[in-house]
């Protein structure tokens, strides 16, 4: 009976081929994993109110919410007021500081704006 002789180099090649095929199959195997993200509920849309025909002859309230402190951005409003005074003197500007922390409601001020104003600019975050 003839003995089957396989050279050692061939054994090594076969072993290497099997190893590569196995690694390829492991690397390409698809798995299913769980999603760490959570559905975040969106809020219902609320429409904008109607706009003014123009600012001419109107009163614009400029409200500083105090982000960064009382002096952090107040001069931006002062510069805006100066710009209106110079370029659109028919626009009356009222500069106000909102009461409380920047995120707190200020219904008294909102009522004043409703009674005495026509439009508002609120800021300045950042």
């Amino acid at each position: 009976m003839k003995r089957l002789f396989i050279p050692a180099s061939s054994v090594l090649m076969i072993f290497a081929l099997v190893t590569v095929l196995h690694a390829t199959s492991v690397g390409s195997e698809k798995i299913t994993v769980m999603n760490p993200a959570i559905t975040s509920t969106m809020v219902d849309r609320v429409p904008l109110t109607n706009r003014l025909d123009s600012l001419d002859g109107k009163t614009l309230y400029m409200v500083d919410i105090g982000w960064g402190g009382p002096d952090a951005a107040y001069s931006v409003f002062e510069e805006m007021r100066a710009w209106f005074s110079e370029n659109m003197p028919n626009v009356k500007t009222v500069l106000k500081r909102k009461q409380g922390p920047y995120s707190a409601d200020d219904p008294e001020l909102w009522k004043e704006i409703k009674e005495k104003g026509d439009a508002a600019l609120i800021g300045i975050s950042g």
């Binding site: 999603n35 760490p36 509920t41 609320v46 402190g69 951005a73 500081r97 609120i122």
Partner: protein
């Protein structure tokens, strides 16, 4: 700010324009609009930053262009108040984009999933353990809680999200936790998302009670370094939970200017209770828990300053602590982390028989000028409005000359924690604020 605009538009029918730095506008018109506000508020955007810039820069902003529309700034403001609403701006009702997150992700290779988790910003950019259903199920055997038990409803930074035990277990797997860690992780999950702000805030996790030794946390030598699996994993999982369940993503919902490297591990430590001097209670006992309770406490802050070396007899530790605490923000207190050998010195050599005595001494001796107090932006943002309302001590501080010395900290706001291995008489003073913690035992 967006809420104020919405209130004026919706409740008072006043046309309003919001003004902010461009990065804040991006958040306001994106995430905040979709998940919190719902009104397509018109904004103008300034270059960042606005706060703290000189008047000359503010004038340039007014004379420059709006970063939202590209128009000259004042034209953009007038247009926002006068141009009629578009059809989209008139829409009322449910959001058309709403889509639920699936429980399972689409099947893919491990490499692609690792890549996906990074692309979604669900990781800290170190490799994670992929949360297969089998791994998460095994993790859930670490608690008697049901997978769909709701830990909390998260509403910050907008959009309601139900954070369940299963979702926390997913993050625990991702971070490399063992199932035995899960009760501590679930207690920690009640504090998600971590404190985060443009001021580059960080967080501190403090663990007290038997759970420290049950899990093998390090509260001795190198406790604050990368030398213990539990400390490392618990700190990491808080970040992963805050990014996934907390939905905190750079440029979308977080805008920290510098960020904080502490957010990788959140200063996760355990108190070395066994090494406390007699009369010095563990932190959780000070907060009203029993010594046998296991408690995790989360605080927020920014800064820690090291003693840089051992205590000198010529200038006792509490003197140097006082000096260094003067440079903290003045947010009413902070936390001192000290090696137990420092605690022993303060008690035996300086007569501080309790932690409270040391807190009281520091509150009474940490002074700073009024100008320095108001010179901090976060302090000024939060306390100026209280001062305007006549609330003391802030109303009084506002009337004082800038060089007047004040004592802004309170004893209740200063916490003392012993951590470390007795290798050197070293300590840190920090501005982290710690309050009452969460009972881990309720999550076993």
């Amino acid at each position: 700010m967006s809420q104020h605009c919405k209130t004026l538009e919706h409740d008072y029918q006043i046309p309003t324009v919001g003004a902010a730095a461009a990065n804040i506008v991006k958040y306001a018109m994106g995430y905040n609009f979709l998940y919190t506000n719902g009104m397509p508020i018109r904004y103008v955007g300034f270059p960042f930053p606005v706060a703290g810039q000189p008047k000359s820069v503010h004038r340039q902003y007014i004379e420059g262009n709006d970063e939202v529309s590209g128009k000259p700034m004042m034209t953009a403001i007038m247009d926002a108040l006068t141009q009629p609403p578009t059809e989209e701006e008139k829409y009322a009702g449910p959001p058309p984009e709403a889509a639920p997150e699936p429980r399972l992700l689409n099947p893919d290779t491990a490499d692609n999933l690792q890549r996906l988790f990074k692309e979604k910003d669900w990781t800290d950019y170190n490799p994670i353990i992929l949360p297969t259903e089998e791994r998460v199920a095994e993790m859930l055997t670490g608690t008697n809680r049901k997978p769909d038990d709701v830990i909390k409803e998260i509403t910050w930074p907008g959009g309601k999200r139900l954070f369940t035990v299963e979702k926390a277990a997913v993050c625990a797997v991702m971070a490399g936790a063992k199932k035995e860690y899960l009760p501590l992780i679930l207690a920690l999950a009640t504090q998600v998302p971590f404190g985060n702000s443009t001021s580059s805030m960080a967080n501190m996790i403090l663990v007290n009670g038997p759970i420290r030794n049950e899990l093998g946390m390090n509260d001795g030598g190198n406790a604050m370094g990368p030398h213990n699996e539990v400390n490392a994993v618990i700190g990491r999982v808080f970040t992963l939970m805050s990014k996934t369940a907390g939905n905190l993503h750079h440029g979308k919902t977080t805008f920290s200017s510098l960020g904080s490297n502490l957010q990788y591990n959140n200063l996760c430590i355990a108190e070395n209770e066994e090494a406390l001097p007699e009369g010095w209670d563990p932190f959780h006992v000070q907060m009203g828990f029993k010594p046998s309770d296991s408690v995790v406490t989360v605080g927020t802050g920014w800064t820690y300053i090291s003693s840089v070396g051992e205590v000198q007899t010529a200038y006792p530790a509490h003197f140097l602590m006082r000096d260094y605490m003067r440079s903290l923000s003045g947010m009413r207190g902070g936390t001192v982390l000290m090696d137990p050998t420092v605690a022993a010195l303060l008690k035996d050599e300086q007569g501080f028989k309790t932690k409270v005595m040391l807190s009281e001494w520091l509150a009474d001796n940490v002074e700073k000028t009024v100008a320095s107090f108001w010179g901090n932006g976060v302090v000024s943002t939060f306390f100026t409005s209280m001062a305007y309302q006549g609330l003391e001590p802030y109303a009084g501080y506002l009337k004082m000359p800038g060089d007047k010395l004040i004592k802004p900290m309170t004893a209740r706001g200063i916490q003392i924690i012993a951590v470390g291995g007795g290798i050197q008489t070293t300590w840190f003073v920090t501005d982290f604020g710690l309050g009452r913690g969460v009972l881990v035992d309720e999550w076993r």
